[in-house]
Amino acid sequence: MTVVEHQGQRDAPRPAPPPHWRPRTDPAPLLPDAEPYRLLGVAAAPAKPGARRTKAAPKKSPAAAADPALLRRLYAELVRGRRYNAQATALTRQGRLAVYPSTTGQEAAEIAAALVLQDQDWLFPSYRDTLAVVARGVDPLETLTLLRGDQHTGYDPHATRVAPLSTPLATHLPHAVGLAHAARLRGDDVVALAMCGDGGTSEGDFHEALNFAAVWQAPVVFLVQNNGYAISVPLDKQTAAPSLAHKAVGYGMPGRLVDGNDVLALHEVLGEALQRARTGGGPTLVEAVTYRLDAHTNADDATRYREAEEVEAWRAHDPVRLLERELLALGILDEEAIDAERERAEEFAAGLRARLNADAETHPEELFAHVYATPTPHLAEQAEQLRAEREAEAEGAAHDEERESGR
């Protein structure tokens, strides 16, 4: 079968398109920047190797225009966040946490996400985002029950406006859309911020969530932390897109590409996106380009799939140091203030350690309490069975002990 040669009609005069056809939105404003948006180190940083140095580069950092109180707050949270990650990982080695997916290196996105939200807004974290939850103000012990192993969700989602940490990837994103949609129907000033990883963007639920959000113009912001890997799988086996932010165009929402280690740029971009959502402008997709410095979890061996040099290159672009350097240069921080923050972070870590070192209380009898509003007769029977078994076990143990001591 013959294939007609290209007739070059792209340049020919256009006839009327088919009836009723019209572009739904102008794609141009939806497209992300060509490179990750940055604010920190912008004035100071050397130009791209090979590129000509722009003479006109202003010497004043954009951070100088930001609210110093915000900058200090961001810094304090980054320092505490870094310490939190280290502490939680250490606790896995002592068997106090079953597993911990660290965000060392990704603190900027975690902190920016938490701090940019208003009190009534909802956060939809993935399993990796315990730091964002803690930075939002949720008790770390309640946040960590999932990873400690004593409970699934330890905090009250309504009281904290934080959805349960989602282990099944991206499948919590439609929940964020539904909640945001419901809030808007109710006329409430509520935005949902939903987080997932680069790997998560491949899931069907990511697609469905973004599409629903755009069609419904729901007040929801999607924050994708592109940390380069889904466990061992690097981004280039995950997507061929120019950037993950480019996916936004296909849903008709703006995409923003941001340096994910630049907490200030993230805070600004997320803030804009939330503001747009809040004022009826619909959803935004934000890609934060960052890096997971630790292994996937404490149980993972990252040396199987990546080189030390890569990790080192990213260490040089550390989110905490990036802000620290800038704030030192701007005179917003000095060594003393830095030490004070580190001290506070140590105290926080010590408190966490102490509380996690105590044995968790568990409630086997509650296994049947929350399957349904009221246990079915069937579950009531099973609860009774377990009660009897545990009683017999306890009696048996007491008996054994008696025998032991009797000997």
Partner: protein, 344 residues
């Protein structure tokens, strides 16, 4: 928005009138939406079209297109969004267009809908109803006739109910929407156009979830059934009279929770039982039902509990479905195998 809708088949309150199951379901949605502004209906084609089975007919006109919302075509997205809506205090009612088209939402059902209350120690209940038209008998092409109830029954955290009568269609849907737990309402497609004299005020119109009911008392053996197979069982019971059997017919209505009491009482009385359903036999609902009846009635049983079910095959093409679906003869054959010799 006035109430002058296009739902002509739904009777006004008052005297019972011939009503289809589809109309009773429609009325249940309408009444629930009227009583509680938190009730929202969403799904594919539920708005302007009124659903491919017209169960949501007129709702968008009456309550607006946000209360009865046409969604994009994506089942996981629909159910996932409904989860978020329920988290915020709404009472979403989701329509899945056909049984097999609910499968793309399976992850949402199992890992989120069924578990959310449990995962949050009761703090995030999901008052959410999933309506799924199911089963064969309407000459549907492949993927339009699955009996998928077992997948939901096997998932702790869900209630699973299925009406076989016009009154129960109304009652179970109202009860599902009123429930603070997620309820999967399996709607027997081939009974959508079945009719009965009914009005929303008819006695017994709203039953609590979890109760089976004896539809026909009998002494010889019990037919345990539900949904689309109830009319077949009642027909079989009539035909059995000629053979000298007086069959009791129990309509389970609620598969989860399961009404052990009603079922066991019947089987203890009759000493024999056959489970009848359209779903495949192997690892189908009948396995559980037979096993739990046997656990509870072992010493009353004259014969093993038998099962008359769809074969263990993918649902056949329309022209062959009659060979697959349990019919009167197949039920009577099973009854005949209930070891009557022991009796005589």
């Amino acid at each position: 928005m006035t109430t002058a809708t296009t739902v002509t088949s739904t009777p006004a309150a008052g005297a019972p009138k011939p009503t289809t199951m589809a109309a009773a379901l429609n009325r249940a949605l309408r009444d629930a939406m009227t009583e509680d502004p938190a009730v929202h209906v969403l799904g594919e084609d539920v708005g302007t079209l009124g659903g491919v089975f017209r169960v949501t007919d007129g709702l968008a006109a009456e309550f607006g297109d946000q209360r009865c919302l046409d969604t994009p075509l994506a089942e996981a997205g629909i159910l996932g969004a409904a989860v978020g809506m329920a988290m915020y205090g709404l009472r979403p009612v989701v329509e899945m267009q056909f049984d097999a088209f609910a499968y793309p939402a399976f992850e949402q059902v199992v890992s989120h809908v069924a578990k959310m209350r449990n995962r949050t120690a009761g703090r995030l209940p999901l008052p959410l109803t999933i309506r799924i038209p199911y089963g064969g008998g309407i000459g549907g092409v492949e993927h339009h006739s699955d009996s998928s109830e077992i997948y939901y029954m096997a998932t702790p955290g869900l209630h699973v109910v299925t009406p076989a009568t016009v009154a129960d269609a109304y009652g179970l849907l109202r009860a599902a929407i009123a429930s603070d737990d997620p309820v999967v309402l399996m709607e027997p497609k081939r009974l959508y156009w079945s009719k009965a004299d009914w009005s929303p005020e008819s006695p017994g119109t709203v039953e609590p979830i979890g109760r089976a009911v004896v539809r026909r008392p009998g002494r010889s053996a019990t037919l345990l059934t539900y949904g689309p197979s109830l009319p077949v069982c009642l027909e079989a019971a009539e035909a059995a009279v000629a053979e000298g059997w007086d069959l009791e017919v129990v309509d389970l209505r609620s598969l989860v929770p399961f009404d052990d009491e009603t079922v066991a009482a019947s089987v203890r009385r009759t000493g024999r039982a056959v489970v009848v359903h359209e779903a495949q036999g192997f690892a189908g609902p009948g396995g559980e039902i037979a096993a739990r009846v046997t656990e509870r009635c072992f010493h009353h049983l004259e014969a093993p509990v038998l099962r008359v079910t769809g074969f263990d095959i993918p649902f056949p093409p329309p022209m062959l479905e009659r060979h697959h679906l349990p019919g009167v003869d197949r039920i009577l054959d099973a009854v005949a195998r209930l070891q009557w010799e022991a009796e005589r």
